[in-house]
């Protein structure tokens, strides 16, 4: 694939004498953090600890609700961060579709509800190259068109 000029993939300077460690070509990619969870008290049995801010108990069946604001423009894959502690990976259906069936078996994906932020309520969620692009999302911004992965990690 021809790389686009907008992609940022810094050249990695392999340590001289240790090139063999990188010859397999494994790559790691990151989840950005620019989404907000709006129902964080409902997503774990015991809520969150007031002191350490980490979740208590198991993940409930409640859908993760993430706020989608202007700050998220251009984001394609990211992690929702709860209380600045636990990160919950969220991804577009487009990204999920990249995974093979076997890869999908290694984690559990659940639908996510998108909640437009108050300051961006009038912003079209599907404009330009913004993510996500689901046609359903144009008429219903609360359509569950992203998913969070839990388990298998």
């Amino acid at each position: 694939m021809a790389s686009r000029s907008s992609s940022f993939e810094p050249e990695f300077i392999e340590p001289v004498g240790w090139e063999q460690l990188f010859r397999d070509g494994w790559r790691s990619t990151y989840f950005l953090e620019n989404v907000r969870i709006t129902n964080d008290t409902a997503i774990f049995d015991g809520g969150f600890c007031d002191h350490c801010k980490w979740p208590i108990g198991n993940r409930t069946k409640d859908r993760l609700k993430v706020e989608w604001g202007s700050w998220a423009h251009g984001i394609r894959s990211f992690a929702a961060v709860a209380h600045h502690t636990m990160r919950i990976p969220t991804a577009s259906e487009r990204l999920l579709n990249v995974f093979t069936a076997r890869e999908r078996e290694s984690f559990e994906a659940r639908p996510v509800e998108i909640v437009p932020s108050p300051e961006s309520a009038s912003m079209s969620l599907s404009r330009d190259n913004s993510f996500p692009r689901s046609p359903a999302n144009r008429s219903n911004p609360k359509a569950g068109i992203v998913a969070s992965a839990v388990g298998g990690m």
């Binding site: 694939m1 940022f8 397999d24 790691s28 990619t29 990151y30 394609r76």
Partner: protein, 77 residues
């Protein structure tokens, strides 16, 4: 995560036996910090499919199990 003089600061280091044979991806890290790792061919496929998604990536060092030292003694840096 390497913080040694040999590999410099930052490169992620994974023991080969921690990766399932023929795996195309795996998650690396824990609930507070993690990343998604792709094999070379899967990464090319992801980039081709998500053309223009502006996802960045970095190289991972793969070491053999015998190269991993459990509970190493502290050494002068």
């Amino acid at each position: 995560m390497s913080n040694a003089k040999v590999l410099g600061y930052g490169p992620q280091v994974v023991s080969r036996n921690a990766i399932e044979p023929d795996a195309g991806l795996f998650f690396l890290g824990g609930p507070g910090k993690f990343c998604l790792c792709f094999s070379a061919d899967r990464w090319q496929a992801v980039k081709a499919t998500l053309r223009g998604a502006e996802i960045t990536s970095s190289s991972i060092a793969i070491i053999e199990p015998g190269e991993r030292e459990e509970s190493p003694e502290l050494r002068p840096y």
